[in-house]
Amino acid sequence: MYSEALLTGKNLPLSEALAMGGETTLLGLAIVFAVLIILMLVLMLFKVVFYKDPSKQTVSVDTAKSVEPAAEIMENTTDEEELVAVLTAAVAASLNTSTYNLRIKSYRRTDNKMPAWNKAGVTETINNRF
């Protein structure tokens, strides 16, 4: 099926090497993609069959209505000064300086829901094993 040169690699002409290589690359990548695309379709089917989006569930609508105003009130009543004090202290502690050297101009919640200490822990672990 394959020439002697292709089997042993001795006196292999460049053209034959490239032809064989190109053929195998196309066929091989096609098979790898075919298998994984089939698996991808199966996984997409999984989502349709098994996954219920919690935000679209009808049950949660009532509770959401009653919770939302409460949350708003909570936010409004949060003491801004207290929060700024906590932030200043935290920044001062991590920078090893005094709170008198710092002025918090603005603060913003990041998108990630993971708590900051959790995040710091994960980052540290990754860097340790890197």
Binding site: L29, V32, V35, L36, L41, F46, I126
Partner: protein
């Protein structure tokens, strides 16, 4: 008295070293030096020490100077490669090896008969969480694209063989070298022991060394292949995956792979067996055993024996240098393949996919995913790509096992 002392002297390593002649003696010394360098890399530089240390010591053990036919010889590579010792010049003679082999010969049977790599895959399966992949099915394609390096290097090996007369790689050797790009040690060993056993030590050393170097190899390519704006993309949080899905996944993958590429089943099937043991939660004891004791024992056997196959005649050649160079090319182009598809997906989804997760498509779990995370976080400190990168990462394991199956199906029976 004098006679027995003379006999003792003739049995020593010194005598063996001197009596072999200067060329062989120098080769032996070079091999021991290489083993010591690898030990240094494993112990001081901590390059995958769990594997490199046994590999290097196995290399040391089998290259110690011994007189011919000494009963102290632990490894006889000729039993496995020389047709003279084989049945009909093709099949290894297990009975002969049991009668005349040393400790490492007996342990090497586990590699030669294809026992160790699938057993390691059982352990890996127990430690793998396919959750991120199930949650984001598209990421499985990145695991396929990252096999580009495998095939690119296959071409590269054949071209090298055509251009340089002293390097002779046939299709079987080229396939074994290409699979280094799968960045998966057991898969590389599994393919090589079937297709090109003589290259086993060089390929194993190259595969494991480059795997340890992934944090050095990948980041420059990642920066070159992606735009800063895309690297900063924060991806949507993954959906939760139910236990039913996690249990069904390994069963379905095994069936699908078996239907298309049966040669990959011994690897993929064992990986999925381990995963099912973990996810089902009913065989906790087996799962713990597979990922700890079993895996550790097999890793030791595999490492020592693969290292022991590195003899001066097979290792000290231009081919080994070719393999080291081609192995690096394989890793680079696998990374390129994954990033390229990552870029396309980023463009198609209008910036919802961070292309950096593409490089995690080379297996090397979880190192490649950590690299995506670290590079991504440098651009945007609030970005957490780790779980998103784990999807392509575990897909890469399946992808490289399928690529291995393709090679075995094409060239296994030649």
């Amino acid at each position: 008295m004098i006679e027995s002392f003379a006999n003792f002297l003739q049995n020593t390593g010194f005598y063996a070293l001197i009596s072999t002649g200067p060329v062989d003696a120098i080769k032996t010394i070079i091999m021991i030096a290489i083993a010591c360098i690898l030990l240094y890399l494993a112990i001081v530089k901590k390059f995958e020490p769990l594997l490199l240390l046994p590999i290097a010591f196995g290399m040391l053990l089998s290259n110690l100077p011994m007189i011919k036919d000494s009963s102290a010889i632990m490894m006889h590579t000729e039993f496995f490669t020389d047709p003279q010792y084989m049945i009909e010049g093709k099949y290894i003679d297990v009975g002969y090896i049991c009668r005349h082999g040393g400790l490492l010969d007996l342990l090497y049977l586990g590699v030669k008969l294809g026992i160790y790599p699938p057993l390691i895959f059982v352990g890996i399966g127990c430690m793998t969480d396919f959750g991120p992949l199930i949650a984001n099915p598209k990421s499985i394609l990145l695991g396929a694209a990252a096999q580009f390096g495998v095939f690119f290097t296959f071409v590269g090996a054949l071209v090298l063989s055509a251009l340089i007369p002293s390097i002779n790689f046939g299709v079987k050797e080229a396939a074994s070298i290409g699979i280094i790009g799968g960045a998966d040690g057991p898969t590389a060993i599994y393919v090589t022991k079937s297709l090109a056993p003589a290259l086993l030590p060089a390929i194993a050393v190259a595969a494991y060394s480059y795997m340890a170097l992934i944090p050095v190899i990948q980041p420059p390519i990642m920066k070159l292949m992606t735009r800063k704006k895309d690297r900063m993309v924060v991806m949507e949080q993954l959906r939760t995956v139910s236990k039913t899905e996690k249990i069904l996944f390994p069963i379905i993958v095994t069936i699908v792979v078996a239907l298309i590429i049966p040669d990959a089943v011994s690897l993929v099937g064992c990986l999925m067996l381990g995963n099912l043991m973990k996810e089902s939660g009913v065989v906790d004891r087996l799962s713990k055993m597979a990922q700890n004791e079993l895996m550790n024992i097999i890793t030791l056997f595999l490492g020592v024996t693969v290292g022991a196959t590195a003899t001066a005649s097979s290792f000290l050649s231009a081919q080994t240098i070719g393999i080291i160079v081609l192995g690096l090319i394989a890793f680079c182009f696998s990374t390129v393949g994954g990033l390229f598809l990552g870029d396309i997906m980023c463009w198609l989804t209008k910036g919802k996919v961070n292309p950096l997760i593409g490089s995690a498509g080379v297996s090397a779990v979880p190192m490649a995913a950590r690299v995506s995370q670290v590079v991504g976080q440098k651009e945007n400190p609030a970005n957490f790509l780790l779980m998103h990168a784990m999807g392509p990462n575990v897909a890469g394991v399946i992808g490289s096992a399928v690529a291995a199956g393709v090679f075995l199906a094409m060239f296994g029976n030649l």
